[in-house]
Structure formats: C-alpha cells, structure tokens
Symmetry: C2
Subunit: 314 residues, 2 copies
C-alpha cells in the first residue's frame, strides 16, 4: 500500500501534514503502508528533523511548486506541473501510489483528478462524499458536498449508485439505506431537481432507496447515504462541523459529539474517478491528517474505486 | 391586539393549542391581547372545561371543518371555506384580527394567505423566515425556509429586503448583517442562482450585505439574516431543530442549546403578505403555542408587515 501525501497542502503545511504522517506511521491501521511525502524536500526534511524522525521512514518526492488556497484551480493545475498536487496525481496515474491525499486547494484537487486519472467511463460527474455522525455510533455519508454546485437529476442518480458502493465497502453495511435530501417526505415535494431525481432513484434497482429524508433525519438511523446537490451538501457538511465548534467549548462532548469534529474523519473521498483520492480540510491538524491517512488506507484497501468502475463498465 | 388562533391545526390539536392559548393569557407579554380561538366550538369548550378555564377568557369563532396535514393545499383551501384556516384568514382580511397563528398544514397556510390577504404589491414571492440560534444569545433568521423550493435571483434579492426589515423591527438591531448562504466566501463561488443573487445583493443599498456566508457561519456573529432558497433553508432549519433533539437527551443543555428547540420560538412568520401570519410546527406543544403567540404579538406590534408594504410602495 503506497500512500501519496501532499506535504504542502493546507493552512498549516508542511508542518501539520508531516507531523500527521509521522502519527499515522505509528498507527497500526497503517501497518505495512509506505507514505510518500510530496513537496519541497528541504522543508519536509527540516520538519522531520524537528520531530526527530529519520528521513528514511518516508519516501520523499520533491515538488518545487505549491498551489495556494486562493488560486484558480484550472489555471493552477495547467501552469504548475511541478506543484505537489500535480506531482501527486502523476504518481497516482502511473500506479506508483494507491491513494493520493491532500489538504490543499479542493478545486485544484478536482481539476487535477479530471486531467490525470479522469472520471470513470460512464460517470457524468464525480462527486465528493462527506461524513456525518449517526447516533448509532457510525458515520453516514452525504454526497455531493461541493464538486457540483448545480446538478442534474441523472447526476444525483449516479451519486446514489456510487454512494451505495462506497458505504457498503467502507462500513461493511449491505444494502445501505439511500435517502434523497428533500424538504418533505412526500415524493411530490421539493425542487424540480429533487422531484425528478426521486423518480430516478425509485426505479434504481441497484440501491436500497428509502425515499426522501429531511434535515432532521440525518443523525438518526433512517438513512446511511444522503443524496443531494453539492451546494446543499456543502452547507450541511459545514453546519455539521460547526456543531463541534459550538459544543466542545461548552464541555458538551461525548462519543457522538466528537464525531462532528472534522478531524475525526479527516477527509472526503472523490467518487467516480479512476483512483483513490481523499481531500482533507484546509485547516487540518496533525490528528486530522493522521485520520485522513487512515481513511485513505481503508478506501484503497476496499478497492472501491475499481468497484465503481466495474459497476459502470460491466 | 386581536390574535386569531387556529385551534384545530397541528398534530395535538385542539388540546395542545387551547392549552397554549391559556398559557399565553397568563403571560405578561400578551397583556391586553384578546385571543380568538377558531375551530369546532364544542371541542374547544370541552378542552377549556378540562383546563378549568372560563370560556369567556377567549373569543370563540366556530369553524366546522379542518384542513388535515396531508391535504392538497390549494384544493383544501378552495373546498373548505369553513375550515379553521379559511375562517382565520377571513378574520385577518376583515381586520378583525391583527395576526393569525396556526400549527396546521403549512401549504394551506401559504395558499390561504395568497388567496385572501394576498402578497404585498411588488413582492414577487412571499417567504417564510425561520429562526436559528446565535452564540451571542440572540436568534438569527434564515429565509426562505420552504415557501419557494426553487427561487430566482430577484426573489432572493427581495428576501434580503424583507428579512432586513423584519430583523430590525423584531430584534431592534439597526442595519442587521445580511449574508448569502453559499459554499464559499468568494463571490464567484456557488450555483448559478447564488452567483447572480450575490451581484444583486451587492448593489442593494437598502441592506447591510456582508457577502457570502457558509454553513459554519450561522451560529457565530458574522450574519443576522441568512438568505437562501426555500429548499436549502428548510434543510438547515430542520437540521437545526434536530440538534436540540440530539443534545437534550444527553443533558447537553444550556441557554444556547435551548434555542435550538423549535418550541422556544414557536413559529415562523410569512413575510411579504398584507398581514401578520405566524406558522407553527405541526408537533407544537402548549409551550410552543404560547411562544408562537408571543412572537405573533411582537410581530403585530412591530408593524413589520405594514413596513414591508411601505418599502415596496413608496
């Protein structure tokens, strides 16, 4: 298992990223995994020295450039072939990495995926899946959370296929419950998009469609995989993260509330591309990076991106 | 101040509604207010007897029919002129009530408003404003929360005008901060709708536009009035309510968390119609109904519906 990690991505890079990688190596779930740190070699080595960590615990692949958070994704990917993100995707494409992780510019991560490993044939638009806590102690996933602000019904239909495959393979839950996020339970409710998507999902025999779900249904056990456009999903994901930010300073913390902390999961997979990619939060701490790497290992081990490819091409 | 209250609306009507009205009468904020209970006279009186409350503490206006929660709004309003909702709107239109409250069928409440008191001239689409807690101890409002699932940019532009007027008059906050709910801070981010709405809001000199806000910004003090389509607003409102449902059984309760309880506010005003209308939750308890009546009193006293009318017609 080879994990490519963008050492330069995120607000606290390279320090927080390299520190997270060191934590991940100590973690038994990453046993046998090799981590390749991508970025400015001298900066990476200097952090490793600071952490008293031998350089040879990692592969280090030098990349001169960094795509900054505010840069225009398409421009940046084209104009910075030596950026850590572009180099990371190069490794993924060549099969030198099983999974690529970055906490850098999300847009550039998406564009990079489309330019290198590309969307799975048959997938209209790849989506990003976010995690939200369920009171039963397991995460649910919601997609899309931002790759596609505006969506067509057939795109939501595919999110359901891909979300179902991802959930089953990551959480070992057969026939996970797929719900369409909507403002009412009745199938006639909602926007033109959700009304049309509801009909597609109802006819989809590959998924266990439980119908419309509402904002109040996420934390219960009515649904495992919530389908929505990337705009709504992004609002929900960030609102969820802010629950942790509001509750933890009050001391209102238990196992359920801890799951709202973005760092507990550490990242979001892109589904529907030819490869495993996990996008981390820009503010990622070492703990978050460690968990992002854990998720990356799980995602790559499950072979989920190949399974999605098989689903659309068999 | 005359408050018309649909005694038959909601899952626990008439009992919970009448009980809430009795609680409201004991409340000093409703002092001098007259409450008219609308519905089946014998059922209302029987609840009052149960509560050992004299009938003459209320006006009772008999209405034979009830619009059920699952009924088609437009059909129901047309076919049930003697329903409690239709009769309530009649009182509001004739000026016999200053405000009308119901916990009944939301769709019928909207259709009833459009058929009787009607939208304010110049308002493209009335909207419903929901409340969300801010950590500074005050509520923010978000609109629309469900009257208009699909919105055009100019409709969002008017939600900003109306939300600003409502917030200023209800909370006494001059130039409240208006934010556009979006998936990123940059103005180029978002859906076609939010990109276009952003430009309209930026040019609007009647409001204090603070730019895009994200799902994580609601509970802080970056924004007082959040503008979005009714689909997204509905998801956010219900997600917010479920935070109370998740936190309270854990004992994670303080003044901030209590504000997530829908019953603490008790209702949502329809903005942009010729009259004051507060829609309550279908599951409303007596406590929720009491708070709905308090909000109704505040809303009617503030003269906010007249002020919105003046805004568009002066």
């Amino acid at each position: 298992m080879n994990i490519a990690l963008d050492a330069m991505g995120g607000d606290f890079a390279p320090r927080a990223i390299v520190e997270g990688a060191v934590l991940a190596l100590e973690n038994e779930s990453s046993e046998g995994a090799t981590i390749t740190l991508i970025g400015r070699e001298n900066e990476i080595k200097s952090v490793l020295d600071d952490l008293n960590c031998a350089h040879d615990k990692f592969n280090i692949v030098h990349a001169d450039d960094v795509i900054e958070m505010g840069e225009h994704p398409t421009k940046a990917i084209s104009q910075k072939p030596n950026s850590s993100i572009a180099v990371g995707y190069g490794l993924l494409k060549m099969g030198k990495a099983d999974v690529f992780c970055s906490c850098g510019n999300t847009g550039a991560m998406l564009v990079g995926a489309m330019f290198t490993v590309k969307a799975v044939e048959g997938v209209i638009r790849p989506g990003i899946a976010g995690f939200f806590p369920k009171e039963i102690g397991r995460y649910g996933i919601i997609l899309d959370v931002g790759a596609n602000a505006d969506c067509k019904p057939d795109v939501l239909g595919q999110f359901a296929d891909m979300g179902s495959i991802y959930y089953e393979n990551i959480f070992g839950v057969k026939n996970p419950k797929i719900g369409l996020l909507n403002l009412g339970e009745e199938e006639s409710k909602g926007t033109l998009l959700t009304q049309a998507a509801h009909q597609l999902l109802k006819l989809n025999k590959n998924i266990n469609f439980v119908g419309n779900v509402e904002g109040r249904d996420l934390f219960g056990d009515k649904v495992d995989v919530v389908i929505c456009d990337g705009f709504t999903g992004n609002v929900v994901l960030k609102l969820g993260e802010s629950i942790w930010d509001s509750m933890s300073p009050r001391g209102f913390v238990d196992d359920f509330v801890k799951m709202f902390n973005y760092a507990s999961v550490g990242g979001s997979p892109i589904l529907g591309i030819n490869g495993n990619v996990i996008i981390g939060h820009g503010v990622s701490t070492p703990e978050a990076v460690k968990n992002q790497i854990n998720l990356a290992v799980k995602t790559a081990q499950s072979g989920v991106s190949e399974k999605i490819k098989e689903f659309y091409n068999s």
